[in-house]
């Protein structure tokens, strides 16, 4: 039995999120106000994988200024909101207005600007030096990154810093010490090949993605000890249901479709898990009435899992293949939809066309005797574990 992918329902679900969450009676809105920036990034990117850039722009009221009509009660655009969250004091972006700058929300803000093609907006150009300076100030002597001035260290923050600096085009400017950052990350690698939030912390699929992603952006995959062992750990996350869990003996959860799949993608071993079984699991997590995707079948959908579910399906390829077992609603225009689905980039978690347009840097690993099969990775530097690193010809 195969489950369809409910394209239109998901589009509607995402579009409806803003008004649902901003509603004063919304529970979810109330308890997630402090991370609204990330919430917007998740919903925007999820939508961007389902419809064209222009369509996403219109539906979400993304871009600023001249694209607005002149109606009186026109809501501020998402870009306007992003700029309002800039914290002058720290130089970073907060999770919502009137909040302190933090690396997590700084990355989300920059990702949104990238999606909106607004990195050259003069408002951002004015903020940019402060933003770079903020990120630079977070790097510690050992190469690690704090989240904000209060000094909490976490490998997640290393990824955020490297990704943000890269998207801003400042990797080569010396703003941050990339090699030191990479060395710190590798110091967090555990006996089982995995990574935790600090050295010695338990391996966790989410943290693994941030470490592998960061090493990829830094083009230092060569520093990884035991690449195969790490992929062994990742492959063992697949449960009987086809879903992936985040640590041994935990329940499968849709968000790990992203964290694990993208890591395997970067390390060239996506085929170490069964993509078709994973796809059926994700599809079972859809809300067939109202759209959206939940963490596991039967639970309530939310924007976080909707994003990662769609991103996971994109990485597996099932949203793009013409003869895929996954079919979209017939009533919807069926197969035609697949041409519209944009692909997601495993390193930056943004649509591949955005990543290519910005010329973002990254590195992927290809196991010995294997060859590159994924088009979306062609633009990246290749590390093939034979001590060589080479640029693929496009």
């Amino acid at each position: 039995m195969s489950f369809p992918f409910h394209h239109s329902l998901h589009v509607q679900y995402i579009e409806g999120l803003a008004s649902k969450i901003d509603n004063p009676s919304s529970y979810e809105g109330a308890v997630t106000e402090h991370l609204r920036m990330s919430g917007i990034y998740w919903s925007l990117t999820a939508l961007s994988l389902l419809v064209s850039a222009e369509d996403a722009d219109k539906r979400m009221n993304l871009a600023s200024g001249d694209l607005r009509s002149s109606t009186e009660d026109q809501k501020p655009s998402i870009i306007d909101f992003v700029f309002e969250c800039f914290d002058k004091k720290s130089g970073g972006f907060g999770g919502n207005k009137m909040q302190d700058g933090h690396i997590l929300y700084t990355l989300s803000a920059i990702q949104i600007l990238a999606l909106a093609d607004a990195l050259e907006d003069e408002r951002f150009l004015m903020m940019k030096p402060k933003v770079i300076s903020f990120i630079k100030s977070l790097q510690q002597k050992d190469g690690s990154f704090a989240g904000d001035q209060w000094g909490e260290i976490d490998t997640r923050f290393s990824y955020c810093a490297l990704s943000a600096i890269s998207i801003c085009g400042e990797l080569d400017s010396g703003a941050i010490d990339i090699n030191k950052a990479a060395e710190y990350i590798v110091s967090c690698q555990n006996f089982d090949g995995g990574f935790g939030c600090h050295p010695g912390a338990e391996s966790h699929a989410g943290q693994i993605f941030t470490c592998v992603g960061a090493l990829s952006i830094a083009c230092r995959l060569d520093l990884l000890k035991d690449e195969e062992l790490l992929c062994w750990w990742l492959a063992e996350r697949q449960c009987d249901s086809g879903g992936l869990n985040g640590r041994p003996e935990k329940q499968a959860d849709v968000c790990y479709s992203w964290w694990i799949l993208s890591s395997l993608c970067i390390l060239g071993r996506v085929d170490w898990i069964r993509g078709d079984k994973l796809a059926s699991f994700i599809l079972k997590c859809q809300d067939e009435d109202d759209g959206g995707i939940a963490d596991r079948p039967g639970d309530m959908a939310d924007v976080f899992h909707t994003f990662f579910g769609i991103a996971g399906l994109s990485l597996i390829g099932v949203l793009h293949e013409q003869n895929s077992i996954v079919h979209v609603d017939e009533s919807d225009g069926g197969e035609k939809r697949k041409n519209e689905h944009r692909m997601i980039d495993p390193i930056y978690a943004l649509p591949t066309d955005v990543v290519r347009k910005l010329g973002l840097r990254g590195q992927i690993a290809i196991p010995r005797n294997a060859s590159m099969t994924d088009d979306r990775l062609k633009c990246y530097d290749v590390y093939n574990n034979a001590g060589e690193s080479k640029q693929l010809q496009m």
């Binding site: 109330a30 907060g94 089982d192 338990e202 492959a235 697949q238 009987d240 041994p248």
Partner: protein, 470 residues
């Protein structure tokens, strides 16, 4: 100036009742035992129309979930208004402390609903620092507040990092080499308290990532500061204290795993303790005597057990645990952890023969007790046992191979030493290789597979071949 005064006047009248009420409820006879819960909406089930904000029953304080949107809005309004006011630097001192107190209360309430609100935590830190320079009491109260928060919200990373920050402030205020003895006592009592908190939370919320990470931070602090003192003063006591602490932690984990057989966090933590024990052992090898009885404040009587014995005993306990729980993934992982650490210890001591012997013993044990066709339990369990046992051996052989590579790098130019190594030091012995191939075939991975035929690349096939699809 006028604007500020009028705003303040406005504020004085307008403090929301719901904040006052909650703050009052948080005071009480046993603040250190108080627990909070978010109470779900029962109106449909109980035909109960009752609309309430809070419910207090002894040490339990409940917040009614349907009203959280309303409360969140009220708390946030108060918080952001006060925050803006206070950011304005022209407020005079009379109003300042009063405003700060209100901000503090607003933050307290907000965090009970949004425990991961980073900015609220930042403002809380600012208030703590500005008021309580050199005074520890506020930081101890903060620990109590965090315990309260964790009774409901055990997974908020910002709450945990705030706890770590608070602990560091407590250390800072105590870290005086002149008062070394008191500090040592404080350190031990602090770390015990933190570890007990982590245990309590890990019991209530199994595999809580942050609780276990914090536990590791606590024990590491004892190690680091102990090492600092030992180095500074050349005293044995701090080494002994650290060693005792590690020993207790290991025993605690070995016991815990017997009743928490799926707790991967515990298994990982156990591995870290073993690792720390090895490091610590290296650091103070020559400086300790066998028995040592110290001053009255810190009664530590220990019989020093050599690290080799500790590791071997741990392996024995591991095997016992597997005998009882052979179909539990995490128990096998604990065995992987323990044996890898044991392997690396032997490798670092250049005990190549012991290395091979250890691996052989492990393989023999697993094959005899778990991969033997004659040993049978309930069908589903038996399949899992075979799966985990087989992958364990393969994982072990892979580890061994990597350790050989370490040897070959270290001992370049030397000839093949002892049985188990090939001439070029890079590959496993013939026997081990044959076993590997046999096991891989036994779990359904074919030679012809164009991908590398490691078990990892075929986990799904292995599992679905051995375990019925759910």
């Amino acid at each position: 100036m006028f604007c500020i005064v009028s705003t303040i006047n406005m504020m004085m009248e307008a403090r929301p009742e719901c904040i006052t009420e909650l703050c009052n409820l948080l005071q009480g006879q046993f603040p250190s035992q108080l627990e909070i819960t978010i109470l779900p909406d029962r109106s449909e089930e109980d035909d109960n129309d009752e609309n309430y904000l809070y419910l207090k029953d002894g040490i339990h304080l409940g917040i009614h979930a349907p009203n959280i949107p309303y409360l969140a809005k009220a708390f946030r309004n108060e918080y952001y208004t006060l925050r803006s006011l206070l950011n304005n630097k022209t407020i005079d001192e009379n109003h300042l402390s009063w405003l700060e107190k209100r901000l503090w209360d607003a933050i307290t309430c907000l965090l009970l609903i949004c425990p991961d609100h980073a900015t609220a935590w930042s403002d809380r830190k600012r208030l703590l620092i500005s008021d309580e320079l050199g005074n520890c009491n506020a930081f101890y109260s903060e620990i109590i507040f965090l315990n309260l928060l964790f009774s409901q919200h055990s997974k908020a990373p910002n709450a945990w990092s705030h706890r770590k920050w608070t602990c560091k402030q407590i250390m800072k205020n105590n870290d005086s080499f002149e008062r070394k003895h008191e500090f040592r006592k404080e350190l031990l009592s602090w770390s015990q308290e933190e570890i007990n908190t982590c245990i309590r939370i890990a019991e209530k919320y199994p595999k809580n990532y942050y609780a276990w990470t914090h536990r590791r931070y606590s024990i590491e602090t004892v190690m680091d500061l102990g090492a600092c003192y030992a180095h500074e003063y050349g005293q044995n006591i701090d080494h002994i204290i650290a060693r005792e602490a590690l020993k207790q932690e290991l025993e605690s984990i070995q016991k815990w795993l017997q009743t928490h057989v799926s707790d991967h966090s515990a298994a990982h933590y156990g591995g870290e303790i073993l690792r720390l024990m090895i490091i610590h052992n290296k650091e103070c090898k020559d400086t300790l005597s066998d028995q040592h009885k110290i001053d009255n404040e810190v009664k530590v009587e220990t019989k020093h057990k050599p690290i080799d014995d500790v590791l071997q005993e741990n392996m024995i306990l591991c095997r016992d645990l597997i005998d009882k729980f052979a179909s539990n993934e995490v128990i096998w992982i604990w065995r992987r952890i323990s044996s890898k650490i044991h392997l690396e210890y032997l490798r670092d001591g250049l005990h190549l023969a012991l290395l091979n012997q250890f691996v052989q013993e492990e393989i023999d044990d697993v094959m005899k007790h778990h991969l033997n066709k004659d040993c049978v339990s309930e069908k589903e369990d038996h399949k899992r046992c075979i799966l985990f046992g087989t992958t364990y051996i393969l994982w072990l052989l892979a580890s061994l191979r990597r350790n050989y590579q370490f040897f070959s790098l270290e001992n370049e130019g030397e000839n093949g030493i002892i049985g188990g190594l090939n001439q070029d030091h890079e590959e496993l012995s013939h026997d081990f290789c044959e076993l590997e191939k046999r096991l891989i075939h036994s779990i359904g991975v074919s030679d012809d597979d164009s991908r590398t035929c490691t078990p990892a690349s075929n986990i799904w096939s292995i599992k679905s071949g051995m375990i019925s699809d759910s």
